[in-house]
């Protein structure tokens, strides 16, 4: 009997140690936004289906995440097995060979279901290097009640001329209603995301094919002039301090007649907390009749770094978190309006999701974006509201600071454009010298 107990104990130890050996950890670095926190909460479903994988979460503020992840991937440190990165980083890092190609995902993953512009934005040389968790474009949000009162009708594809005209007609500053709200806070991901997309629709571009900055051209001048004049005339006060969050608050409280910004805002302006929930209409981002509208394209995506020691487990997690099944899981727990939008065609074919008021316009906006041909003229870079080069973050922010000063009236528009031309030229000249 004693021998049997001892044998059973030994067998249990062996099995236990074998299981312990078989279990591997996947460390996920992610940003601390609502969608990602939700994913963490639902990840038990993944570990139940994959008992050999233990998940370890590193949830960070966006800037800190960028810093940590960049350092880790550049050193092939292997701290993280799954990275949350944006469309900006994917082509740069894939070109450097830092990311694992996601070209052999499970059959039921259905890669072809991913929205083509999003897939393009997350690919390099035709291979996908990150799977989209959430995607967005930008569109026009407007107050249907104010439009009706002013006898205006928003076209599905408005032009800038119409927007300018409408904003001026709708402005009622005495009642704290501003004709238009646009991003003014300086930053490559704030005012420059909007202004770069707007400039694309005006026929402007950051660089010509020889990487010469183009801020000295007429198209940029027209863009910044229209932007500054319109905002100074009918925009909110202190507009140079307003980013996405500030404008969202203004629109939700009924102070903006028109707001052009991320499609992700759709859910927040129509949910129960919004004062104008039932008075919001959606249209595409404006254009200037040159074949490009002012909408951008962005996705938060999950990627596997080359330095990961657990690439297989990491890929399994990425496939799960960006699958159709995950979208269904979120819908079953929190409803369709909380499903991460902008990634899959099937989501927009779902009758339940189509009931969401901004769903169709989000899909149309994403479909209208082409990250590989963002401008009217040919450019040597990819990216719509950014230029997918390592230096863009700093150039974009520096240029954004000058445009913010022009918006606030601190410096003339011509000076801001001259400054933008100078700083972009200097930074790119040094960067290209060392390449």
């Amino acid at each position: 009997m004693t021998i049997r107990i001892a044998a059973a104990f030994m067998a249990a130890l062996l099995v236990g140690s074998a299981l312990a050996r078989a279990e591997s950890t996947v460390t996920i670095a992610t940003v601390n936004n609502g969608d990602m926190i939700r994913m963490q909460g639902l990840s038990e479903a993944f570990t139940k289906a994959n008992p050999d994988i233990k998940l370890d979460w590193v949830v960070l503020e966006e800037n800190v995440l960028r810093q940590r992840v960049t350092t880790d991937i550049a050193t092939k440190g292997g701290q993280f097995d799954v990275l949350t990165i944006g469309t900006y980083e994917v082509p740069i890092w894939a070109k450097r060979g830092w990311l694992v190609a996601l070209d052999n995902l499970p059959e039921d993953y259905d890669v072809d279901d991913i929205l083509p512009p999003i897939r393009e934005a997350l690919s390099y040389d035709g291979t996908m290097y990150a799977a989209p968790f959430y995607g967005e474009s930008s569109f026009t949000m407007y107050r249907t009640d104010l439009f009706e009162k002013a006898g205006l009708e928003m076209p599905e594809k408005p032009t800038w001329d119409f927007i300018k005209d409408a904003a001026r007609k709708l402005a009622d500053k005495s009642n704290d209603v501003y004709g238009i709200c646009l991003r003014g806070k300086p930053g490559w991901g704030e005012n420059m995301a909007f202004l770069t997309a707007m400039a694309n629709s005006y026929g402007a571009r950051w660089f010509d094919m020889e990487w010469k900055p183009q801020f000295d051209g007429e198209a940029w001048k027209a863009t910044i002039t229209d932007y500054v004049e319109l905002m100074q005339e009918v925009g909110p006060p202190d507009a140079a301090a307003n980013g996405y969050n500030e404008n969202l608050a203004l629109f939700r409280s009924g102070k903006c007649a028109i707001w052009i910004d991320a499609t992700a805002a759709g859910q927040f302006v129509t949910n129960a907390d919004s004062d104008v929930a039932d008075r919001v209409g959606f249209a595409l981002a404006p254009d200037k009749g040159l074949g490009k509208s002012a909408n951008w394209l962005w996705a938060w995506a999950l990627a596997v770094p080359e330095g990961s020691d657990n690439k297989d487990g990491a890929k399994r997690f990425v496939a799960w978190a960006t699958s159709k099944q995950y979208l269904e899981l979120v819908a079953s727990k929190d409803g369709w309006s909380n499903v991460p939008p902008g990634t899959r065609t099937s989501l927009y074919e779902n009758p339940e999701y189509r009931k969401v008021p901004f769903a169709k316009m989000t899909l149309d906006s994403i479909d209208a974006a082409d990250p590989n041909k963002p401008c009217v003229d040919e450019v040597p870079y990819t990216g719509i509201q950014y230029v997918a080069i390592p230096e863009f973050q700093s150039i974009g922010t520096a240029v954004g600071q000058r445009f913010a000063l022009a918006l606030s009236g601190t410096i003339p528009i011509d000076e801001a454009l001259e400054n933008a031309q100078w700083v972009t030229g200097k930074v790119i000249e040094r960067a290209r010298f060392l390449q």
């Binding site: 810093q67 701290q79 890092w93 390592p390 973050q393 700093s394």
Partner: protein
């Protein structure tokens, strides 16, 4: 049995000065050593070592405290171990070994030095080549081996030129090296200051630091993170202290710096090494690390592979290329020269040209491999481990033998060919030191400590067996006679040389100095200060930075033109004073 005792019949005047103790009148005050050590320890290696601490994953607190402690220990080692022996013997270690260790030990010692100096030379030439590669559109060299034939060609060409310069024009390079020190100090500090706002912006979105704790936070989050390049917890406080202490082991415990400190009037001047340790190995290392981290972030590369040329370019603009090339060459050339001399001592029967050529060829090949410069810190630590036993042997002879009643110069007095206790002790220590390293019992940076102790104990025991406690009256008498002759010769020399050191005080020299100090040093320092403290946003940062880049390169040109002119005018004045016999103020 060979007679190696000094022959008093040999004319003292015919002997090479290097073989004699330094005469009293050639001794220097503390100012000389403060300047000398400041210059010796601000070199191209600092770019690499600063980045190495980041790649090894030191945390900011360990760096701030550990480097302070480690460098203080290094200063104390210079003061308490090297300087007293140097002041007592007034000889370089080479001469000491030559006169006291027989034939084999100096030969082996020189052999080890060849390897070490070749490695340092090759590393520094590679560092210079990393600056040149951008000019020829060659991709960054991120692997241990060259990935571009053209990079190898550039590195090899630079080596060939360096070998030729070391052979034919060493004095010019050495002279040029002396004027670089103040400029290198300013540029190393300025480089860190210029890139801090950029680094801070990537982390916080702001370009300004409001307090020292902001700086600590920035450096701790972005540079000295405590995580190494493999993503694992990095080195701790003990290792940081050890690296700082061991980086110059061969100079202090290994006594190589007897060559410099033998000129000190008092052994307390060993404390003057603090300029080198606390600037070159503290501020410059931290500054280099900050520069490296900022550049790595800008280029989206790892600090473990980002090259000194790229770092310097982002920190200092065109001046960065100048600093890397100058710092690299002024470090490489003396080491190449030393390697050549050491090799000639190892193979005295082979023609000097042939030996130099072989050493040069090894440097040429080594300089093509970035691996060597990236491993410079371990190379220096292991070099120290190899050379430290000889320091222990000399320490035993000079400090312990007199207390035990042994003769410090017993081997010379005995007059045998080889100092076998020294040979055996060195062998025991190498086995012991590298054995401990193999067993991985203590961090390799501390291996020199037990090895040094073992060398002292082993040598005391072995030397006694071989006659260190013996009596050699005839030889001792000859030694005393020789010493008397040396003293007489030094008195003659002192009479001749007392007015030779002159300090230029003419109006012309004053003007020249004001120009290179103000334009060459103060203007870049002020502009760097402006970049760090007067850049409220990224755009203003770029404006200030570009101004710094554009002006500093011209300041650099002016600095070198006027500093060189200063040196030449001063030398001309000295020569004319000597030839005319005119009274000029003594230094």
């Amino acid at each position: 049995m060979a007679n190696t005792a000094i022959d008093p019949r040999q004319s003292i005047a015919d002997m090479d000065d290097e073989l004699l103790p330094v005469p009293q009148h050639r001794l220097h005050g503390p100012g000389h050593f403060l300047g000398l050590y400041g210059s010796e320890h601000v070199a191209a290696t600092e770019f690499v070592i600063g980045a190495a601490f980041v790649a090894m994953g030191a945390s900011i607190h360990d760096i701030l405290i550990g480097l302070l402690i480690g460098n203080t220990l290094a200063v104390l080692s210079f003061w308490l171990i090297t300087a007293p022996i140097a002041v007592k013997t007034r000889l370089s270690l080479y001469t000491y070994l030559d006169q006291n260790m027989g034939e084999l030990v100096p030969r082996l010692y020189n052999g080890a030095n060849v390897l070490i100096f070749v490695a340092i030379s090759a590393a520094m030439i590679t560092v210079s080549a990393t600056a040149v590669r951008a000019l020829f559109d060659i991709p960054p060299q991120i692997y241990p081996y060259p990935t571009s034939v053209w990079f190898a060609v550039i590195a090899a060409s630079a080596s060939v030129i360096a070998v030729l310069v070391a052979y034919y024009g060493f004095n010019v390079v050495a002279e040029f090296g002396t004027i670089c020190t103040p400029w290198l100090m300013v540029m190393f500090t300025a480089g860190g200051m210029v890139l801090i706002p950029s680094l801070n912006e990537t982390l916080t979105g702001y370009t300004t630091l409001s307090s020292f704790s902001d700086f600590v936070n920035l450096a701790g989050t972005t540079v000295f993170t405590g995580i190494n390049a493999e993503g694992e917890p990095g080195i701790g406080l003990w290792e940081v202290i050890g690296f700082a202490w061991a980086a110059n082991t061969f100079a202090h415990f290994g006594l190589v710096d007897m060559a410099l400190l033998r000129y000190a009037k008092k052994s307390i001047y060993g404390l003057c090494t603090a300029t080198g340790m606390m600037f070159g190995h503290y501020i410059a290392w931290i500054s280099a690390a900050l520069m490296g981290a900022a550049t790595a972030y800008i280029m989206k590369l790892s600090i473990a592979v980002v090259s000194p040329g790229d770092v310097a370019y982002y920190a200092l603009g065109a001046t960065g290329f100048v600093i890397v090339i100058i710092a690299g060459w002024t470090t490489a050339n003396p080491n190449l020269y030393r390697a050549g001399l050491a090799a000639q001592a190892v193979f005295p029967n082979i023609a000097r040209q042939k030996v130099t050529l072989v050493v040069g060829a090894v440097v040429v090949v080594g300089s093509c491999f970035p691996f060597i410069y990236r491993q410079i810190l371990p190379i220096l630590a292991y070099a120290g481990l190899v050379l430290v036993p000889l320091g222990g042997i000399v320490f035993a002879e000079q400090h312990i033998f007199p207390r035990l009643g042994y003769k410090s110069n017993w081997h010379r007095l005995k007059g045998v060919k080889d100092n076998m206790p020294a040979v055996i002790t060195w062998g025991i220590c190498l086995v012991f030191g590298f054995g401990l390293n193999f067993l991985n019992i203590i961090p390799f940076v501390y291996l020199f400590l037990p090895t040094w102790v073992v060398s002292i104990v082993a040598y005391i025991i072995l030397a006694k067996k071989y006659g260190a406690d013996g009596s050699y009256p005839e030889a001792e008498k000859r030694e005393q006679e020789f010493q008397k002759q040396v003293e007489a010769y030094h008195a003659e020399l002192a009479a001749k040389e007392q007015h030779e050191h002159v300090r230029g005080t003419t109006a012309l020299i004053k003007i020249i100095r004001v120009i290179w100090i103000v334009i060459g040093l103060i203007v870049p320092a002020v502009l760097a200060w402006r970049v760090l403290f007067n850049s409220p946003n990224l755009y203003d940062y770029y404006v200030n930075r570009e101004l710094f880049y554009d002006v500093t390169i011209w300041c650099t040109v002016i600095y070198f033109v006027f500093a060189w002119w200063d040196l030449q005018v001063s030398k001309r004045m000295q020569r004319s004073a000597r030839s005319s016999g005119a009274e000029v103020p003594a230094e």
